[in-house]
Symmetry: C2
Subunit: 228 residues, 2 copies
DNA sequence: CTGAGGTCAAGAGCACTGCTCACATTTCTT
DNA sequence: AAGAAATGTGAGCAGTGCTCTTGACCTCAG
Protein backbone atom coordinates (compact mmCIF):
# COMPACT_ATOMS: atom_id res chain seq x y z
CA UNK A 1 0.00 0.00 0.00
CA UNK A 2 2.17 2.79 1.28
CA UNK A 3 5.02 2.30 -1.08
CA UNK A 4 8.12 4.35 -1.47
CA UNK A 5 6.20 6.85 -3.53
CA UNK A 6 3.65 7.71 -0.86
CA UNK A 7 6.33 8.10 1.77
CA UNK A 8 8.33 10.48 -0.35
CA UNK A 9 5.19 12.42 -1.13
CA UNK A 10 4.34 12.81 2.54
CA UNK A 11 7.86 14.00 3.22
CA UNK A 12 7.83 16.59 0.48
CA UNK A 13 4.41 17.83 1.51
CA UNK A 14 5.59 18.22 5.08
CA UNK A 15 8.74 19.98 3.93
CA UNK A 16 6.73 22.46 1.87
CA UNK A 17 4.48 23.22 4.81
CA UNK A 18 7.45 23.62 7.11
CA UNK A 19 9.15 26.08 4.80
CA UNK A 20 5.89 27.91 4.18
CA UNK A 21 5.29 28.35 7.88
CA UNK A 22 8.80 29.68 8.33
CA UNK A 23 8.27 32.20 5.57
CA UNK A 24 5.00 33.36 7.06
CA UNK A 25 6.74 33.81 10.39
CA UNK A 26 9.56 35.89 9.05
CA UNK A 27 7.94 37.86 6.25
CA UNK A 28 4.21 37.62 6.71
CA UNK A 29 1.56 35.74 4.81
CA UNK A 30 1.47 38.38 2.10
CA UNK A 31 5.04 37.57 1.10
CA UNK A 32 4.79 33.82 0.98
CA UNK A 33 6.68 32.73 -2.14
CA UNK A 34 6.13 29.34 -3.73
CA UNK A 35 9.13 29.82 -5.97
CA UNK A 36 11.40 30.33 -2.99
CA UNK A 37 10.07 27.19 -1.36
CA UNK A 38 10.81 25.33 -4.57
CA UNK A 39 14.34 26.74 -4.66
CA UNK A 40 14.97 25.71 -1.06
CA UNK A 41 13.76 22.23 -1.93
CA UNK A 42 15.86 22.08 -5.11
CA UNK A 43 12.90 21.44 -7.33
CA UNK A 44 11.20 23.26 -10.15
CA UNK A 45 8.67 25.85 -9.04
CA UNK A 46 6.02 24.14 -11.09
CA UNK A 47 6.47 20.94 -9.12
CA UNK A 48 4.96 22.58 -6.07
CA UNK A 49 1.65 22.48 -7.87
CA UNK A 50 1.68 18.70 -7.69
CA UNK A 51 1.27 19.11 -3.94
CA UNK A 52 -0.83 22.23 -3.53
CA UNK A 53 -3.14 23.54 -6.16
CA UNK A 54 -2.41 27.19 -5.45
CA UNK A 55 -0.76 29.59 -3.08
CA UNK A 56 -4.11 30.25 -1.44
CA UNK A 57 -4.67 26.58 -0.84
CA UNK A 58 -1.30 26.29 0.83
CA UNK A 59 -2.27 29.14 3.11
CA UNK A 60 -5.59 27.45 3.82
CA UNK A 61 -3.75 24.32 4.88
CA UNK A 62 -1.62 26.41 7.20
CA UNK A 63 -4.77 27.95 8.66
CA UNK A 64 -6.46 24.61 9.23
CA UNK A 65 -3.32 23.34 10.86
CA UNK A 66 -3.17 26.36 13.12
CA UNK A 67 -6.80 25.96 14.15
CA UNK A 68 -6.12 22.37 14.96
CA UNK A 69 -3.14 23.14 17.11
CA UNK A 70 -4.99 25.87 18.98
CA UNK A 71 -7.78 23.40 19.59
CA UNK A 72 -5.37 20.83 20.88
CA UNK A 73 -3.57 23.28 23.15
CA UNK A 74 -6.81 24.43 24.70
CA UNK A 75 -8.30 20.99 25.00
CA UNK A 76 -5.32 19.65 26.88
CA UNK A 77 -5.19 22.71 29.14
CA UNK A 78 -8.84 22.14 29.95
CA UNK A 79 -8.45 18.42 30.45
CA UNK A 80 -5.69 18.81 33.01
CA UNK A 81 -8.13 20.23 35.55
CA UNK A 82 -10.99 18.55 37.33
CA UNK A 83 -14.23 19.06 35.53
CA UNK A 84 -15.64 20.66 38.70
CA UNK A 85 -12.80 23.15 38.96
CA UNK A 86 -14.46 25.77 36.82
CA UNK A 87 -12.18 28.64 37.68
CA UNK A 88 -9.15 26.43 37.23
CA UNK A 89 -10.35 25.36 33.81
CA UNK A 90 -11.09 28.92 32.75
CA UNK A 91 -7.71 30.15 33.86
CA UNK A 92 -5.91 27.27 32.19
CA UNK A 93 -7.77 27.81 28.94
CA UNK A 94 -7.13 31.53 28.80
CA UNK A 95 -3.47 31.27 29.73
CA UNK A 96 -2.97 28.47 27.24
CA UNK A 97 -4.50 30.58 24.51
CA UNK A 98 -2.21 33.49 25.26
CA UNK A 99 0.92 31.43 25.47
CA UNK A 100 0.06 29.60 22.27
CA UNK A 101 -0.46 32.94 20.60
CA UNK A 102 2.86 34.26 21.84
CA UNK A 103 4.84 31.27 20.67
CA UNK A 104 2.95 31.04 17.37
CA UNK A 105 2.48 34.66 16.46
CA UNK A 106 2.30 34.08 12.74
CA UNK A 107 -0.27 31.32 13.01
CA UNK A 108 -2.33 33.37 15.41
CA UNK A 109 -2.23 36.27 12.99
CA UNK A 110 -3.19 34.01 10.14
CA UNK A 111 -6.26 32.82 11.99
CA UNK A 112 -7.39 35.83 13.98
CA UNK A 113 -5.95 38.69 11.98
CA UNK A 114 -7.26 40.68 9.06
CA UNK A 115 -9.11 38.46 6.65
CA UNK A 116 -8.48 38.90 2.94
CA UNK A 117 -11.56 40.48 1.34
CA UNK A 118 -13.19 38.00 -0.97
CA UNK A 119 -11.50 35.03 0.62
CA UNK A 120 -14.15 32.46 1.47
CA UNK A 121 -12.95 30.01 4.07
CA UNK A 122 -13.41 26.54 2.55
CA UNK A 123 -15.57 23.99 4.32
CA UNK A 124 -12.58 22.04 5.62
CA UNK A 125 -11.79 24.94 7.92
CA UNK A 126 -15.11 24.80 9.74
CA UNK A 127 -14.55 21.76 11.92
CA UNK A 128 -11.03 22.74 13.07
CA UNK A 129 -12.28 26.24 13.76
CA UNK A 130 -14.93 24.89 16.10
CA UNK A 131 -12.50 22.89 18.17
CA UNK A 132 -11.24 25.64 20.47
CA UNK A 133 -14.68 27.19 20.57
CA UNK A 134 -16.27 24.02 21.81
CA UNK A 135 -14.00 23.84 24.82
CA UNK A 136 -15.06 27.19 26.14
CA UNK A 137 -18.69 26.61 25.25
CA UNK A 138 -18.64 23.42 27.26
CA UNK A 139 -17.10 25.27 30.17
CA UNK A 140 -19.89 27.83 30.02
CA UNK A 141 -22.47 25.05 29.95
CA UNK A 142 -20.88 23.39 32.96
CA UNK A 143 -20.78 26.68 34.83
CA UNK A 144 -24.41 27.31 34.13
CA UNK A 145 -25.60 23.83 34.98
CA UNK A 146 -23.73 23.79 38.25
CA UNK A 147 -25.65 26.82 39.35
CA UNK A 148 -23.12 29.62 38.94
CA UNK A 149 -24.73 33.02 38.75
CA UNK A 150 -22.48 35.75 37.41
CA UNK A 151 -21.90 38.90 39.40
CA UNK A 152 -23.15 41.09 36.58
CA UNK A 153 -26.57 41.77 35.24
CA UNK A 154 -27.76 41.83 31.67
CA UNK A 155 -29.90 44.76 30.58
CA UNK A 156 -33.52 43.63 30.19
CA UNK A 157 -35.17 44.65 26.99
CA UNK A 158 -37.24 42.76 24.48
CA UNK A 159 -34.51 43.02 21.88
CA UNK A 160 -31.78 41.76 24.13
CA UNK A 161 -33.89 38.91 25.46
CA UNK A 162 -34.65 37.90 21.89
CA UNK A 163 -31.02 38.08 20.87
CA UNK A 164 -29.91 35.86 23.71
CA UNK A 165 -32.66 33.42 22.92
CA UNK A 166 -31.01 33.10 19.53
CA UNK A 167 -27.54 32.79 21.05
CA UNK A 168 -28.72 30.05 23.40
CA UNK A 169 -29.81 27.98 20.43
CA UNK A 170 -26.77 28.84 18.32
CA UNK A 171 -24.18 27.68 20.82
CA UNK A 172 -26.40 25.10 22.50
CA UNK A 173 -26.00 26.36 26.04
CA UNK A 174 -29.16 26.77 28.08
CA UNK A 175 -27.91 29.53 30.36
CA UNK A 176 -29.55 32.73 31.57
CA UNK A 177 -28.91 36.01 29.79
CA UNK A 178 -26.48 37.26 32.40
CA UNK A 179 -24.35 34.13 32.11
CA UNK A 180 -24.23 34.36 28.33
CA UNK A 181 -23.35 38.03 28.46
CA UNK A 182 -20.67 37.55 31.09
CA UNK A 183 -19.20 34.58 29.29
CA UNK A 184 -19.12 36.16 25.86
CA UNK A 185 -17.73 39.33 27.35
CA UNK A 186 -14.97 37.47 29.12
CA UNK A 187 -14.09 35.59 25.96
CA UNK A 188 -14.01 38.81 23.97
CA UNK A 189 -11.82 40.47 26.59
CA UNK A 190 -9.33 37.62 26.45
CA UNK A 191 -9.06 37.85 22.68
CA UNK A 192 -8.98 41.61 22.78
CA UNK A 193 -6.15 41.62 25.29
CA UNK A 194 -4.15 39.09 23.29
CA UNK A 195 -4.69 40.99 20.08
CA UNK A 196 -3.64 44.28 21.63
CA UNK A 197 -0.51 42.74 23.05
CA UNK A 198 0.46 40.72 20.00
CA UNK A 199 -0.31 43.34 17.42
CA UNK A 200 1.56 46.03 19.29
CA UNK A 201 -1.15 48.40 20.43
CA UNK A 202 -0.19 48.50 24.08
CA UNK A 203 3.59 48.32 23.91
CA UNK A 204 4.08 51.30 26.16
CA UNK A 205 1.32 50.49 28.62
CA UNK A 206 2.57 47.43 30.44
CA UNK A 207 5.86 46.48 31.99
CA UNK A 208 4.92 42.80 31.75
CA UNK A 209 1.70 42.20 29.85
CA UNK A 210 1.52 38.70 31.27
CA UNK A 211 0.95 39.97 34.78
CA UNK A 212 -1.94 42.13 33.73
CA UNK A 213 -3.33 39.30 31.65
CA UNK A 214 -3.31 36.96 34.62
CA UNK A 215 -5.13 39.52 36.74
CA UNK A 216 -7.63 40.06 33.95
CA UNK A 217 -8.34 36.37 33.57
CA UNK A 218 -8.69 35.94 37.30
CA UNK A 219 -11.16 38.80 37.52
CA UNK A 220 -13.16 37.58 34.54
CA UNK A 221 -13.33 34.06 35.91
CA UNK A 222 -14.70 35.19 39.24
CA UNK A 223 -17.15 37.40 37.44
CA UNK A 224 -18.59 34.71 35.19
CA UNK A 225 -18.70 32.03 37.87
CA UNK A 226 -19.96 34.45 40.48
CA UNK A 227 -17.53 33.41 43.19
CA UNK A 228 -16.11 35.46 46.03
CA UNK B 1 2.84 80.51 -3.37
CA UNK B 2 0.35 77.83 -4.14
CA UNK B 3 0.72 77.88 -7.86
CA UNK B 4 -0.99 75.76 -10.43
CA UNK B 5 1.63 73.12 -9.97
CA UNK B 6 1.00 72.60 -6.29
CA UNK B 7 -2.73 72.35 -6.86
CA UNK B 8 -2.39 69.66 -9.48
CA UNK B 9 0.00 67.81 -7.27
CA UNK B 10 -2.42 67.81 -4.38
CA UNK B 11 -5.14 66.50 -6.66
CA UNK B 12 -3.07 63.62 -7.96
CA UNK B 13 -1.93 62.70 -4.49
CA UNK B 14 -5.51 62.61 -3.31
CA UNK B 15 -6.55 60.55 -6.31
CA UNK B 16 -3.83 58.01 -5.66
CA UNK B 17 -4.87 57.68 -2.04
CA UNK B 18 -8.51 57.34 -3.03
CA UNK B 19 -7.78 54.57 -5.50
CA UNK B 20 -5.44 52.86 -3.06
CA UNK B 21 -8.07 52.83 -0.37
CA UNK B 22 -10.57 51.37 -2.79
CA UNK B 23 -8.16 48.62 -3.74
CA UNK B 24 -7.47 47.78 -0.12
CA UNK B 25 -11.21 47.58 0.47
CA UNK B 26 -11.91 45.23 -2.37
CA UNK B 27 -8.79 43.08 -2.49
CA UNK B 28 -6.93 43.58 0.74
CA UNK B 29 -3.75 45.40 1.58
CA UNK B 30 -1.64 42.52 0.32
CA UNK B 31 -2.91 43.02 -3.22
CA UNK B 32 -2.47 46.74 -3.48
CA UNK B 33 -1.02 47.41 -6.92
CA UNK B 34 0.72 50.65 -7.76
CA UNK B 35 0.70 49.78 -11.46
CA UNK B 36 -3.05 49.44 -11.46
CA UNK B 37 -3.44 52.79 -9.75
CA UNK B 38 -1.22 54.27 -12.43
CA UNK B 39 -3.33 52.67 -15.17
CA UNK B 40 -6.53 54.00 -13.64
CA UNK B 41 -4.97 57.44 -13.54
CA UNK B 42 -3.66 57.14 -17.10
CA UNK B 43 -0.12 57.73 -16.11
CA UNK B 44 3.10 55.74 -16.19
CA UNK B 45 3.66 53.47 -13.25
CA UNK B 46 6.94 55.15 -12.56
CA UNK B 47 5.20 58.46 -12.09
CA UNK B 48 3.58 57.22 -8.91
CA UNK B 49 7.01 57.36 -7.32
CA UNK B 50 6.98 61.11 -7.62
CA UNK B 51 4.20 61.09 -5.03
CA UNK B 52 5.01 58.14 -2.79
CA UNK B 53 8.43 56.72 -2.35
CA UNK B 54 7.27 53.12 -2.12
CA UNK B 55 4.28 50.86 -1.83
CA UNK B 56 4.93 50.57 1.89
CA UNK B 57 4.93 54.28 2.31
CA UNK B 58 1.58 54.55 0.56
CA UNK B 59 0.20 51.99 2.98
CA UNK B 60 1.68 53.91 5.88
CA UNK B 61 -0.10 57.02 4.70
CA UNK B 62 -3.35 55.06 4.58
CA UNK B 63 -2.74 53.81 8.11
CA UNK B 64 -2.03 57.28 9.46
CA UNK B 65 -5.15 58.53 7.76
CA UNK B 66 -7.20 55.72 9.28
CA UNK B 67 -5.86 56.40 12.76
CA UNK B 68 -6.73 60.02 12.32
CA UNK B 69 -10.28 59.30 11.27
CA UNK B 70 -10.81 56.87 14.12
CA UNK B 71 -9.53 59.52 16.47
CA UNK B 72 -11.86 62.09 15.04
CA UNK B 73 -14.88 59.78 15.17
CA UNK B 74 -14.25 58.93 18.79
CA UNK B 75 -13.44 62.47 19.82
CA UNK B 76 -16.67 63.83 18.41
CA UNK B 77 -18.70 60.99 19.92
CA UNK B 78 -17.15 61.82 23.27
CA UNK B 79 -17.61 65.56 22.89
CA UNK B 80 -21.32 65.27 22.22
CA UNK B 81 -21.97 64.22 25.81
CA UNK B 82 -21.62 66.21 28.99
CA UNK B 83 -18.28 65.68 30.58
CA UNK B 84 -20.08 64.47 33.71
CA UNK B 85 -22.08 61.88 31.84
CA UNK B 86 -19.51 59.16 32.18
CA UNK B 87 -21.70 56.27 31.14
CA UNK B 88 -23.02 58.26 28.22
CA UNK B 89 -19.52 59.07 27.06
CA UNK B 90 -18.40 55.47 27.40
CA UNK B 91 -21.35 54.19 25.45
CA UNK B 92 -20.94 56.80 22.76
CA UNK B 93 -17.25 56.04 22.37
CA UNK B 94 -17.72 52.29 22.16
CA UNK B 95 -20.60 52.46 19.74
CA UNK B 96 -18.77 54.99 17.60
CA UNK B 97 -15.77 52.71 17.43
CA UNK B 98 -17.86 49.77 16.32
CA UNK B 99 -19.80 51.67 13.72
CA UNK B 100 -16.63 53.22 12.34
CA UNK B 101 -15.13 49.76 12.12
CA UNK B 102 -18.17 48.41 10.31
CA UNK B 103 -18.24 51.17 7.74
CA UNK B 104 -14.47 51.17 7.31
CA UNK B 105 -13.62 47.51 7.51
CA UNK B 106 -10.49 47.74 5.41
CA UNK B 107 -9.06 50.65 7.37
CA UNK B 108 -9.87 48.94 10.62
CA UNK B 109 -8.12 45.82 9.40
CA UNK B 110 -5.14 47.85 8.29
CA UNK B 111 -4.76 49.37 11.72
CA UNK B 112 -5.84 46.62 14.10
CA UNK B 113 -5.22 43.51 12.04
CA UNK B 114 -2.20 41.32 11.59
CA UNK B 115 0.96 43.38 11.46
CA UNK B 116 3.55 42.56 8.82
CA UNK B 117 6.58 40.99 10.50
CA UNK B 118 9.51 43.32 10.27
CA UNK B 119 7.40 46.36 9.55
CA UNK B 120 8.39 49.12 11.90
CA UNK B 121 5.70 51.74 12.23
CA UNK B 122 7.35 55.06 11.35
CA UNK B 123 7.34 57.89 13.85
CA UNK B 124 4.62 59.78 12.01
CA UNK B 125 2.15 57.09 13.02
CA UNK B 126 2.66 57.54 16.74
CA UNK B 127 0.73 60.75 17.26
CA UNK B 128 -2.33 59.73 15.21
CA UNK B 129 -2.32 56.37 16.95
CA UNK B 130 -2.55 58.07 20.32
CA UNK B 131 -5.57 60.13 19.38
CA UNK B 132 -8.29 57.56 20.01
CA UNK B 133 -6.39 56.19 22.97
CA UNK B 134 -6.29 59.54 24.67
CA UNK B 135 -10.04 59.89 24.58
CA UNK B 136 -10.65 56.75 26.54
CA UNK B 137 -7.75 57.41 28.87
CA UNK B 138 -9.24 60.78 29.69
CA UNK B 139 -12.58 59.14 30.36
CA UNK B 140 -10.94 56.73 32.76
CA UNK B 141 -9.20 59.60 34.51
CA UNK B 142 -12.49 61.47 34.84
CA UNK B 143 -14.22 58.37 36.17
CA UNK B 144 -11.53 57.85 38.74
CA UNK B 145 -11.32 61.46 39.86
CA UNK B 146 -15.08 61.72 40.27
CA UNK B 147 -14.95 58.90 42.75
CA UNK B 148 -16.28 55.98 40.77
CA UNK B 149 -15.35 52.66 42.27
CA UNK B 150 -15.73 49.70 39.95
CA UNK B 151 -17.82 46.74 40.96
CA UNK B 152 -14.93 44.36 40.54
CA UNK B 153 -11.85 43.71 42.56
CA UNK B 154 -8.29 43.36 41.45
CA UNK B 155 -6.30 40.45 42.81
CA UNK B 156 -3.79 41.70 45.35
CA UNK B 157 -0.27 40.44 44.91
CA UNK B 158 3.06 42.18 44.90
CA UNK B 159 3.52 41.55 41.22
CA UNK B 160 0.15 42.89 40.23
CA UNK B 161 0.48 45.96 42.42
CA UNK B 162 3.86 46.63 40.84
CA UNK B 163 2.52 46.18 37.35
CA UNK B 164 -0.31 48.64 37.89
CA UNK B 165 2.07 51.11 39.40
CA UNK B 166 3.83 51.01 36.05
CA UNK B 167 0.56 51.28 34.13
CA UNK B 168 -0.48 54.30 36.18
CA UNK B 169 2.65 56.11 35.11
CA UNK B 170 2.50 54.90 31.53
CA UNK B 171 -0.98 56.18 30.80
CA UNK B 172 -0.89 59.00 33.29
CA UNK B 173 -4.04 58.08 35.18
CA UNK B 174 -3.81 58.04 38.95
CA UNK B 175 -6.54 55.47 39.58
CA UNK B 176 -6.69 52.49 41.93
CA UNK B 177 -5.80 49.02 40.68
CA UNK B 178 -9.42 47.92 40.36
CA UNK B 179 -10.28 50.89 38.18
CA UNK B 180 -7.33 50.29 35.90
CA UNK B 181 -8.12 46.61 35.63
CA UNK B 182 -11.81 47.21 34.97
CA UNK B 183 -11.09 49.92 32.43
CA UNK B 184 -8.46 48.01 30.52
CA UNK B 185 -10.63 44.93 30.59
CA UNK B 186 -13.62 46.82 29.22
CA UNK B 187 -11.49 48.34 26.48
CA UNK B 188 -10.10 44.94 25.56
CA UNK B 189 -13.58 43.44 25.50
CA UNK B 190 -14.81 46.13 23.14
CA UNK B 191 -11.95 45.52 20.74
CA UNK B 192 -12.26 41.80 21.11
CA UNK B 193 -15.95 41.88 20.29
CA UNK B 194 -15.42 44.11 17.27
CA UNK B 195 -12.60 41.92 16.01
CA UNK B 196 -14.62 38.77 16.39
CA UNK B 197 -17.56 40.28 14.57
CA UNK B 198 -15.59 41.92 11.79
CA UNK B 199 -13.18 39.12 11.15
CA UNK B 200 -15.93 36.54 11.01
CA UNK B 201 -15.35 34.43 14.09
CA UNK B 202 -18.88 34.60 15.48
CA UNK B 203 -20.95 34.59 12.33
CA UNK B 204 -23.21 31.83 13.54
CA UNK B 205 -23.51 32.99 17.13
CA UNK B 206 -25.56 36.16 16.88
CA UNK B 207 -28.72 37.09 15.06
CA UNK B 208 -27.79 40.77 15.32
CA UNK B 209 -24.32 41.34 16.73
CA UNK B 210 -25.18 44.97 17.34
CA UNK B 211 -27.73 44.09 20.01
CA UNK B 212 -25.27 41.98 21.91
CA UNK B 213 -22.64 44.66 21.54
CA UNK B 214 -24.92 47.28 23.04
CA UNK B 215 -25.67 45.04 25.99
CA UNK B 216 -21.98 44.34 26.40
CA UNK B 217 -21.07 48.00 26.39
CA UNK B 218 -23.83 48.82 28.83
CA UNK B 219 -22.69 46.13 31.22
CA UNK B 220 -19.05 47.15 30.97
CA UNK B 221 -19.86 50.80 31.55
CA UNK B 222 -21.79 50.04 34.71
CA UNK B 223 -18.99 47.81 35.86
CA UNK B 224 -16.20 50.34 35.43
CA UNK B 225 -18.16 53.26 36.81
CA UNK B 226 -19.61 51.16 39.61
CA UNK B 227 -23.17 52.30 39.12
CA UNK B 228 -26.29 50.27 39.75
C1' DC C 1 10.66 88.24 -21.18
C1' DT C 2 13.88 85.21 -21.18
C1' DG C 3 16.66 81.61 -19.42
C1' DA C 4 18.10 78.67 -15.43
C1' DG C 5 16.50 75.25 -11.98
C1' DG C 6 13.41 72.48 -10.25
C1' DT C 7 9.56 69.31 -11.05
C1' DC C 8 7.31 65.81 -13.38
C1' DA C 9 6.09 62.11 -16.61
C1' DA C 10 7.56 58.51 -19.81
C1' DG C 11 9.53 54.28 -21.21
C1' DA C 12 12.73 50.74 -21.05
C1' DG C 13 14.49 47.36 -18.15
C1' DC C 14 15.66 44.29 -13.92
C1' DA C 15 14.36 40.90 -10.87
C1' DC C 16 10.76 38.91 -8.94
C1' DT C 17 5.93 36.63 -8.51
C1' DG C 18 1.81 32.84 -9.43
C1' DC C 19 0.46 29.79 -12.62
C1' DT C 20 -0.02 26.69 -16.99
C1' DC C 21 1.32 23.35 -20.21
C1' DA C 22 3.67 20.01 -23.09
C1' DC C 23 7.01 16.80 -22.24
C1' DA C 24 10.27 13.46 -19.88
C1' DT C 25 11.00 10.37 -16.08
C1' DT C 26 9.96 7.45 -12.41
C1' DT C 27 7.10 4.36 -9.78
C1' DC C 28 3.03 1.42 -9.01
C1' DT C 29 -0.32 -1.82 -10.71
C1' DT C 30 -2.03 -5.33 -13.47
C1' DA D 1 6.99 -7.01 -18.83
C1' DA D 2 3.52 -3.44 -20.26
C1' DG D 3 0.52 0.07 -19.40
C1' DA D 4 -1.16 3.50 -16.26
C1' DA D 5 -0.56 6.82 -12.86
C1' DA D 6 2.21 9.92 -10.42
C1' DT D 7 5.93 13.17 -10.38
C1' DG D 8 9.43 16.41 -11.95
C1' DT D 9 11.13 19.75 -15.78
C1' DG D 10 11.70 23.99 -18.23
C1' DA D 11 9.80 27.30 -21.11
C1' DG D 12 6.54 30.81 -21.20
C1' DC D 13 2.63 34.23 -19.98
C1' DA D 14 1.08 37.95 -17.44
C1' DG D 15 1.62 40.39 -13.68
C1' DT D 16 4.36 42.89 -9.78
C1' DG D 17 7.69 46.78 -7.30
C1' DC D 18 11.19 49.58 -8.34
C1' DT D 19 15.22 52.15 -10.85
C1' DC D 20 17.27 55.00 -14.20
C1' DT D 21 17.72 57.96 -18.10
C1' DT D 22 15.65 61.18 -21.04
C1' DG D 23 12.95 64.83 -22.33
C1' DA D 24 9.18 68.05 -21.49
C1' DC D 25 7.05 71.36 -18.62
C1' DC D 26 6.37 74.96 -15.11
C1' DT D 27 7.98 78.66 -11.93
C1' DC D 28 10.37 82.36 -10.77
C1' DA D 29 14.44 85.43 -10.51
C1' DG D 30 17.27 88.57 -13.08
Amino acid sequence: MTGKRAAVRADTTAAIIRLARRQVETRGAANLSLREIARDLDMASSAIYRYFESRDQLLTVLIIDAYDRIGEAIETADAKRDRDDLIGRWTAIALALRSWALTNRADYGLVFGTPVPGYEAPDDTIAPALRYTNVVVRLLADASSSGCTPSIESPRTRKIAGEYRYVRRAIGVDAPDATLLAGLSAWAAVFGAINQELFGHVDTVYADPGIHFAALVDMLGRQVMGLT
